[in-house]
């Protein structure tokens, strides 16, 4: 029974998803919105309930398979917030014409539950199954607008590359099991040193990293990101950008620090290399982009690089920075995609030209997009600035031990400078762009989206001005991971 209480948050999300799936069958289309709001409210209640969990130390359930600590709770709250915004976005933009909204809501809830299970996975079997739940659900969510060719194309690409990465993941798990004879994180952590030196184990861990790298959209596993971001419905893209990416990071951090600490030194250069390449690739490829969603796809790759710098430092400061960075990135990306969703609905396009004159058509949307871009670019006092600041600070501190970090720091700073160009290209298009022949009537934003956009903007500002509350939470989370 105690086991069920410990995984109560995920259980509640799953039950909500199942209920939405069933209820949707017997309600009229008008009531669909209410169903959506009901689901969001339930997620809100679950979010509040997450504060009732006060784990002293790490608590395990299901025979050590499921771990609940501050680290897991931090990410569960993160995923819940992301889930609430995504549901709000999908209710606001309403994919009703595309096969039914009820299914979209329940599938999003199942993906959310999968992410939350990822946050608590303490066994490679659970890791694989929960990651698959996320991935398989996203195959459907990406291709949800199956009347649109771009959406289907994105789904096919995501499916094929996702299946490939899953194959690597499961092969890696098999190798780890073959080398050690256990799937349990705690047993893996307490293996004798001789077994830890097994190259088979390292190869398995490397394949595991391939699977996680796909989720994080880090170079060289990034190839799907721009196309899928562009083709998928905006709410799916937003969920993919924050939820799926964070699921990769939560597992990476847990595997790295709690499960196979031997990898900490072994993977240092791997992580640094992947971080540097991700930043360079994302930033350079983003420059010529004219589609906002594609731009954010490349920006997501670059951001995976910044996050990986935090992870690569292997320090508590670095991990804390990564956790804070993710929180800031969450609101920033959500704000951007709320605006994109509305613009897409009105113009059917998401290139820079369709943004022209946006500040006249809807000052709120213009302000929201500007907030997001300025935050992504890392301008104080918004959340994006403080996240980058913390990551670079941690890298600077780590540079004393490994001079390679100075190089990484250089790439990161150059990346920030280059990214100013394209992020401000968006802002310029919004305020100074010359509108083409398209109708320039005002855009009415539905109230759920208005609420979501205001909340996201406030959160971006609040995180940037008062970072302490989140960094404290993040520090607590990192401490429970055993990092000092």
């Amino acid at each position: 029974m105690n086991d069920l209480v410990l995984m109560g948050l995920e259980g509640a999300v799953l039950v909500t998803g199942l209920a939405v799936l069933l209820l949707d069958l017997w309600i009229t289309p008008d009531q669909r919105r209410l169903l959506g709001f009901g689901a969001i409210a339930t997620l809100g209640v679950i979010f509040c309930a997450s504060f009732a969990y006060l784990p002293d130390g790490t608590q395990y359930a299901f025979g050590g398979m499921y771990a609940l600590d501050e680290f897991a709770l931090y990410f569960k709250r993160f995923f819940l917030i992301a889930g609430m915004f995504v549901l709000l976005l999908s209710v606001g933009t309403s994919h009703a014409e595309e096969g039914g909204q009820g299914e979209y809501l329940s599938l999003s809830l199942f993906a959310l539950a999968g992410m939350m299970f990822c946050a608590s996975a303490a066994n490679l079997a659970l890791l694989f199954v929960s990651l698959e739940l996320v991935t398989v659900t996203f195959y459907v969510l990406v291709g949800f607008q199956r009347r649109r060719l771009a959406s289907l194309e994105a789904a096919i690409k995501y499916l094929i590359i996702g299946a490939l990465s899953s194959a690597f993941l499961v092969y890696g798990i098999a190798l780890i099991y073959g080398a050690t004879g256990t799937l349990d994180f705690r047993q893996l952590a307490s293996l004798p040193a001789a077994v830890m030196e097994s190259r088979i184990l390292w190869l398995g861990a490397l394949f595991l990293f391939v699977g996680l790298g796909f989720k994080m959209a880090a170079v060289p596993f990034q190839i799907w990101a721009p196309d899928v971001y562009q083709g998928a419905p905006p709410s799916t893209t937003a969920f993919l950008a924050v939820g799926s990416k964070a699921a990769g990071f939560v597992l990476l951090l847990r595997v790295l620090h709690q499960t196979l600490p031997v990898l900490e030194t072994r993977w240092l250069h791997l992580l640094m290399g992947v971080a540097g390449l991700s930043i360079a690739y994302g930033v350079l490829c983003a420059i010529p982009q004219r589609s906002l969603k594609r731009l954010l796809g490349y920006s997501s790759i670059a951001n995976a690089g910044y996050l990986l710098i935090g992870v690569a430092t292997l320090s508590a400061a670095g991990a804390t920075a990564a956790l804070y960075y993710l929180a800031g990135y969450l609101y920033t990306v959500l704000a951007a995609f709320i605006v994109i969703a509305v613009v897409l609905q009105h113009t059917g396009r998401d290139d820079f030209d369709s943004l022209a004159g946006l500040h006249q058509r809807s000052p709120l949307l213009a302000a929201g997009l500007t907030f997001a871009m300025v935050s992504l670019a890392g301008i104080p006092p918004l959340a994006g600035f403080f996240g980058k600041f913390l990551v670079l600070k941690a890298a600077l501190a780590a540079g004393a031990e490994h001079p390679g970090f100075y190089w990484l720091l250089g790439i990161a700073v150059v990346g920030v400078v280059i990214s100013l160009y394209y992020y401000f290209g968006v802002v310029r298009a919004v305020y100074w762009g010359t509108p083409g022949e398209q109708p320039a009537g005002p855009i009415r934003v539905e109230w759920p989206l208005q609420v979501a956009l205001y909340l996201a903007m406030v959160a971006i500002l609040w995180l940037g001005v008062m970072p302490n509350q989140i960094t404290n939470l993040a520090e607590l989370a990192v401490k429970s991971l055993g990092l000092r």
Binding site: L18, L22, L25
Partner: protein, 125 residues
């Protein structure tokens, strides 16, 4: 010889017979054909037999995509049935939690079935 290798031996014999039997039959048929009915192909003989009608078009026809849905729903319930077998075999030595778990498992799939039914997927038109 242990019991295990003996069971393998049985399999090997079965495999050998299974391969040999059709080979012998085919070989006999071949022998019969070469002796009694040498091949004399002609356009009329090579044409596919269509009840006396001229055959038209390709033998490949596109199936209706409706079949596909049934196949995939069948697949999912096939996988479900797989999990029932180890449960049934190990039933007596399982705790009560496992029983609840399989009940939840079945209920989830029933929910899927109800959903598909309500969506009209099971109707053939």
């Amino acid at each position: 010889m242990t019991e295990q290798t003996q069971s393998y031996l049985f399999l090997a014999v079965l495999l050998g017979v299974a391969v040999a039997f059709p080979l012998v039959m085919l070989g006999l048929a071949r022998l019969w054909a070469t002796v009694y009915s040498p091949a004399k192909p002609g356009p009329a003989k090579a044409a596919p037999y269509e009840c006396g009608l001229e055959s038209t078009g390709d033998a490949w026809v596109q199936l209706r995509s409706g079949y596909y849905l049934y196949a995939i729903v069948f697949l999912i319930f096939d996988v479900e049935a797989l999990f029932l077998l180890p449960f049934a075999v190990a039933f007596t030595s399982l705790p009560v939690g496992a029983f609840v778990a399989i009940l939840v498992f079945l209920l989830l799939l029933v929910e899927g079935l109800v959903w598909a039914w309500q969506k009209g997927v099971l109707e053939w038109n």
